[in-house]
């Protein structure tokens, strides 16, 4: 489904918008369906109304027809009666009665048909009344004819004849006229309903077309959004690809630089040492072979040459070690600092310039840390050998205290000594490569030990600090960040 992802991209902080977008198609469909159903319902209802109106028209026509027939029957009845009176034949009476029967039936039908029209019912009542009166009259006449002869009947009937038929005829015609008027209005109504039905019928399809239009527009809109999304995604992909390519380039450049450094240090370690060896060796040979004929000064010169060559060798070794530190991978593991320090301390004491140091080393409780075992060992070795070296003047009174604790989110370790200390004014030079705060003839060293310590510690994400007072000893401490143990 493209839409929810689209919404999530366009409105990343609005979960209700996402839901809305998801529900949108369903909602719109339901709405359209409801509208179309409503239109259909309305059209249907309208056509029912139209049918009803037409029905009423037909009804009216029937009534009209009924009235006309009634009038005809009554008139025919009249005619038959008159014929009887003229010719005196009883056959006319039978005809008359049959017409009457028909007329009565018609009247009944009309009653039924005009049930809902009180006016017409009233008229029908009037008609029935009049008819009944007329009928009574005719019967009288008939009786007269049968009992006293046709002349008597004629005489009875004649003066009333015109009078009693007319009202009846008028009444029936009034009925018919009323129905005519009704027909007119109902016809108009029917026509109006028909027109409305036509509109209703158009409504449905019109609505459908409108919805289709809306749907089409919405579709276009979504398509455009999808396009936009697609373009954005493409841009993201391109950007990411470019970033990756750049990263690969940088990686390749780094690796090339590393390789160069490797070759460089290899060259240093091998090619630079050979001439130094020769300088040292031949100078020594010279002293050995010519010791008898050499005066003190020339011998001193040669000693100086030898010493310098040797120092250069040390510098090269230290520089090489220092440079390698930056490139070596860190093998992280849990390190028992306690054991490590004990071991390093023992080693440093034993190796101290070939003679056992008289210094006392106290190792406190040290929390474990995570880091590269061999590199951390180097740190302790360098710090301890420094402490021992600069405490040499104290002889057996030299005391070195190692402590460690967990402070906040860091592990602090310190090495305190009561040696010669240093001037805090030059403290910022302490950790520089080949930087020293004491002259070579007082304390030997190339000045790279602390630089190595700092490099290792910073590779672990920590930092080193040093405080001291001249002749009051020094404190070197480093901090390692605490990390969660990795299995």
């Amino acid at each position: 489904m493209v839409l929810p992802e689209l919404a999530q991209r366009l409105y990343p902080n609005d979960p209700s918008a996402v839901w809305l977008v998801r529900a949108q198609p369903v909602l719109v469909f339901c709405l359209a369906l409801a509208l179309l159903l409503a239109a259909a319902f309305l059209a249907y209802r309208q056509s029912l109304r139209e049918a009803q109106a037409r029905q009423l028209v037909t009804h009216t026509l029937l009534v009209q027809q009924g009235a006309v027939e009634l009038a005809a029957d009554l008139l025919q009845m009249e005619a038959e009666h008159r014929a009887f009176l003229i010719r005196g034949e009883p056959a006319f009476l039978a005809a008359r009665d049959s017409y009457r029967a028909t007329a009565l039936r018609s009247m009944q039908q009309l009653r039924a048909l005009t049930r809902d029209n009180t006016e017409q019912q009233a008229r029908l009542d009037q008609i029935a009344e009049l008819e009944h009166a007329r009928n009574t009259r005719m019967r009288e006449t008939t009786r007269l004819a049968q009992s006293e002869g046709i002349e008597a009947a004629r005489a009875n009937f004649a003066p009333v004849a015109a009078g009693s038929m007319r009202p009846l005829r008028d009444a029936v015609f009034a009925l018919a006229q009323a129905e005519s008027r009704l027909l007119e209005s109902r016809s108009l109504d029917a026509a109006a309903q028909s027109a409305q039905t036509r509109w209703m019928v158009l409504l449905g399809p019109a609505l459908g077309i409108a919805l289709l239009g809306v749907g089409f527009y919405a579709l276009l809109h979504q398509l455009r959004n999808s396009e936009r999304l697609g373009e954005q995604l493409k841009r993201d992909i391109d950007a990411r690809k470019q970033a990756e390519a750049e990263r690969d380039e940088r990686q390749a450049a780094l690796e090339a630089a590393n390789k160069d450094l490797e070759a460089f240090s290899y060259s240093i370690s091998h090619d630079l040492r050979a001439p130094l060896r020769h300088i040292d060796g031949f100078a020594r040979m010279l002293i050995e072979d010519c010791s008898d004929s050499l005066a003190a000064e020339p011998k001193r010169y040669l000693d100086t040459i030898i010493a310098s060559a040797r120092r250069m060798g040390l510098l090269i070794d230290d520089l090489l070690a220092f440079s390698r530190l930056g490139r070596q991978p860190l093998n992280r593991q849990w390190v028992n600092m306690q054991d490590l320090v004990q071991s390093a301390a023992g080693e440093v004491k034993a190796n101290n310039g070939g003679r056992n140091s008289a210094a006392q080393i106290e190792v406190g409780e040290l929390p474990p840390a995570e880091g590269d075992l061999s590199l951390l060992r180097q740190v302790w070795t360098n710090l301890l050998s420094n402490a021992i070296k600069y405490s040499e003047p104290r002889g057996s009174l030299a005391r070195i205290v190692i402590s460690g604790q967990r402070k906040g989110d860091g592990l602090h370790y310190s090495v305190h000594d009561n040696g010669v200390g240093f001037d805090m004014r030059y403290a910022d030079k302490l950790f520089g490569v080949f930087q020293r705060l004491h002259p070579q003839d007082q304390f030997e060293g190339t000045g790279v030990g602390l630089a190595i310590v700092q490099r290792i510690v910073s590779r672990h994400g920590g930092k080193v600090t040093a405080t001291a007072e001249v002749d009051q000893g020094a404190c070197f401490s480093f901090e390692l960040p605490i990390s969660e143990p990795t299995a």
């Binding site: 370690s269 091998h270 090619d271 060896r277 040292d280 060559a309």
Partner: protein, 146 residues
């Protein structure tokens, strides 16, 4: 005198200075007359396989080969490989003597079967010391099959 008499140590070293220093060190133990010196790998192989310029050598294999690593034409590792892969020379002790302390060189040498690997110290005293020890060990103390 047969120029090939009493050769106990074959020194394979391209630097004349280093060769001189090594021989000086070995002199202290009186082994200097027992040293043959060749300047590169090709010559070393010629010597050990009694071919080329040394086709007429007949004094048997040396007790020790001191082999430098970096040499022109053919380097120490190639020489080592040839020596250790040949029936005739496999049993001769080879000690690599070089300035290089590179892990890669160490690994390669040992995997090719070097008997020992010594890094030449810059300090001559130490250098002499180690050459002394090596010489004494392999030539005098070590027992080799005849």
């Amino acid at each position: 005198m047969n120029k090939y008499q009493h050769v106990q140590i074959l020194l394979v070293e391209d630097s004349a200075h280093d060769a001189e220093l090594t021989q000086r060190a070995l002199k202290r133990r009186g082994l200097v007359n027992d040293i043959a010196w060749v300047k590169d790998g090709v010559e070393a192989l010629d010597y050990l396989f009694c071919q080329g310029a040394y086709a007429d050598r007949d004094n048997g294999p040396p007790k020790l080969v001191l082999l430098d690593l970096k040499m022109p034409r053919m380097d120490g590792l190639q020489v080592l490989e040839r020596l250790k892969n040949s029936e005739a020379t496999r049993q001769i002790p080879v000690v690599m003597m070089t300035s290089s302390r590179e892990e890669g060189d160490l690994v390669s040498s040992y995997s090719l079967g070097v008997n020992s690997y010594i890094v030449k110290p810059v300090d001559f005293e130490k250098f002499a010391d180690i050459v002394d020890q090596v010489g004494m060990y392999w030539v005098v103390a070590n027992q080799a099959p005849t």
